[in-house]
């Protein structure tokens, strides 16, 4: 902790001395009654302290951000994350531009979860064009390479998306988007391998062990997905916005290499990402400006996700012979007030997850409050 404080102080000092344009501090406090998102409902409080600083050089911007997350009941899951990157925008006309970014990231967990430690590189190339004054075409390509301390998680992924939207005089915007993704695990699964996890909060409060299924003796494994998203947004006066959206995702090839897929609240888990599931989700959200210019967002989402390659198990971890399928309902509400120099927010999320794997049949309440404070070192241009 002391070492971390020295690092943070160094970064702040150097940001000023090296003429950074800005410095942002953020602090978020989260409380949940189900940190591991399973039927055994482990409570925890998570504090998140972060900083961000950047510097513009002509058309290129260099930036870095770091954050430390501390869990009060499960301190072994605490982690430090650091990003360093640059981005560049290249206009091709007054109606179209390319955007490029290159980001390096490191995530470092406490010793018990050190298998999750990773270094990654992300490259993004995006294109945006006004086809007319009422319709926008967007396209982007992303490349991710990630290397974990436990090398069987290592992967490289590619993503390609194209979206198109159209605004109508009825103040309605319609948007459609198609996404393709390919995730290549870089190491073969030559035998059943297990990451042994020391349970610190009782047998059922933590995670299941990861078992790697022996898919092939010599090759890595690829997962290929395709998704389609549609959205309709409606403006009602200048203070109300409403939208409904739907998404359907298919597996084109491959399946999950793990025997279990888990999500943790606010903590990334390498067994779960957008490649882990096929299915659909439907959502609706209303945005209101209430007195004192406070933004209120209320949303509801229902999702039906199947996890190809993942077999449901009973509570004794014996296979049930069916692919895991979750039906999830999420209600969320958020209040946010933005000031010129800082922002504050409060949010509440309730999740009801019904699964044919009883371990993942759960409900959870998630509360968050946060503040973000900006310091500016540059000129008023």
């Amino acid at each position: 902790m002391r070492r971390l404080g020295i690092y943070l102080f160094s970064i702040l000092f150097l940001s000023v001395s090296l003429k950074a344009d800005s410095f942002t501090f953020s602090f978020f406090q989260n409380v949940t009654d189900n940190i591991f998102q399973n039927r055994y409902s482990a409570r925890d409080k998570l504090s998140h302290l972060g900083f961000y600083t950047d510097k513009d050089f002509s058309k290129i911007s260099v930036f870095t951000e770091g954050s430390y997350s501390y869990l009060f009941e499960n301190p072994s899951l605490g982690y430090y994350l650091q990003d360093v990157g640059l981005d560049y925008l290249h206009p091709v006309s007054d109606k179209a531009a390319f955007y490029f970014s290159l980001i390096g990231q490191g995530v470092f967990y406490r010793s018990d979860y050190a298998d999750f430690n990773s270094l990654s590189i992300n490259f993004l190339a995006a294109f945006k064009a006004y086809l007319s004054q009422t319709s926008i075409l967007k396209s982007n390509y992303s490349l991710d390479y990630r290397s974990f301390r436990y090398s069987l998680f290592d992967f490289v992924s590619h993503g390609l998306s194209i979206s198109f939207d159209k605004y109508f005089q009825t103040r309605t915007t319609m948007k459609s988007e198609i996404n393709w993704g390919l995730k290549c695990f870089l190491h073969p699964y030559s035998s059943q391998e297990v990451i042994l996890v020391e349970e610190s909060g009782g047998h059922h409060s933590g995670r299941r062990s990861y078992l790697f299924v022996p898919r092939t003796q010599v090759e890595g494994q690829n997962i290929q997905i395709l998704s389609f998203t549609g959205l309709i947004a409606q403006g009602i006066g200048s203070n109300v916005g409403f939208n409904i959206s739907g998404m359907k995702q298919w597996y084109l090839s491959g399946e999950n290499p793990f025997t279990s897929v888990e999500e943790f609240y606010m903590v990334e888990n390498p067994s779960y990402d957008r490649f882990a599931w096929a299915g659909y989700q439907l959502g609706a959200q209303i945005t209101l400006l209430i007195p004192w210019n406070i933004e209120l967002k209320i949303g509801y989402t229902m999702a039906n996700k199947e996890f190809p390659g993942i077999e449901s198990m009973n509570l004794e971890e014996e296979p049930l012979g069916v692919t895991r399928e979750d039906r999830r309902k999420t209600f969320e509400t958020r209040l946010e007030k933005n000031f010129p120099r800082f922002s504050i927010f409060l949010s509440y999320v309730y999740v009801d997850n019904n699964s044919n794997d009883p371990f993942f049949d759960w409900q959870g309440n998630f509360f968050s409050a946060g503040i973000e404070w900006n310091m500016f070192f540059g000129g008023k241009k």
Binding site: L14, Y52, Y130, Q133, N140, Y167
Partner: protein, 147 residues
């Protein structure tokens, strides 16, 4: 963990140090003047990406027609790469900003906007840009997903 953190600090330092020297100051066309602030509610007529300051990233510019008077304004929003909302012709927008005249047209450097039920803060009350201080949710935008 110690090695990894040290590596990031070194990369961070090298990046900032190498770019920090010999930078010529940019020459802005106009400063934000709080004495000429004005609030306008209008309809978007055109959206363009246009260089506004020497050697800097292009800005998002809106041509806005005021509802009440039908007078037209050119509204300077922010550098394109920092702005994640998508505007369309015909949408309503309320802008608070600093007004100045140039070559017969009325220009506004936007400080705050009201759009689709959201308040978007672009500058503080003195005119300092929020996009340079993280107030525009830099974390999401830097990854470019919403560009």
């Amino acid at each position: 963990m110690k090695k990894g953190l040290s590596l990031f600090i070194m990369v961070y330092l090298l990046g900032f140090w190498s770019f920090s020297s010999d930078q010529e100051p940019q020459k802005p066309l106009h400063f934000y003047n709080v004495d000429t602030e004005k609030k306008i509610k209008g309809t978007i007529q055109e959206i363009i990406m246009e260089p506004r300051y020497k050697d800097s990233s292009p800005f998002l510019i809106i041509r806005l027609e005021e509802k009440r008077t039908h007078q037209r304004f050119i509204v300077e929003i922010s550098p394109v790469r920092f702005f994640t909302h998508d505007f369309h012709k015909g949408e309503e927008l309320e802008v608070v900003g600093s007004l100045y005249s140039k070559e017969g047209s009325q220009n506004i450097i936007a400080r705050q906007m009201r759009f689709r039920g959201e308040i978007i803060i672009l500058r503080d009350k003195h005119g300092f840009p929020a996009w340079r201080g993280g107030g525009m949710k830099l974390k999401k935008r830097r990854k470019g997903k919403r560009f």
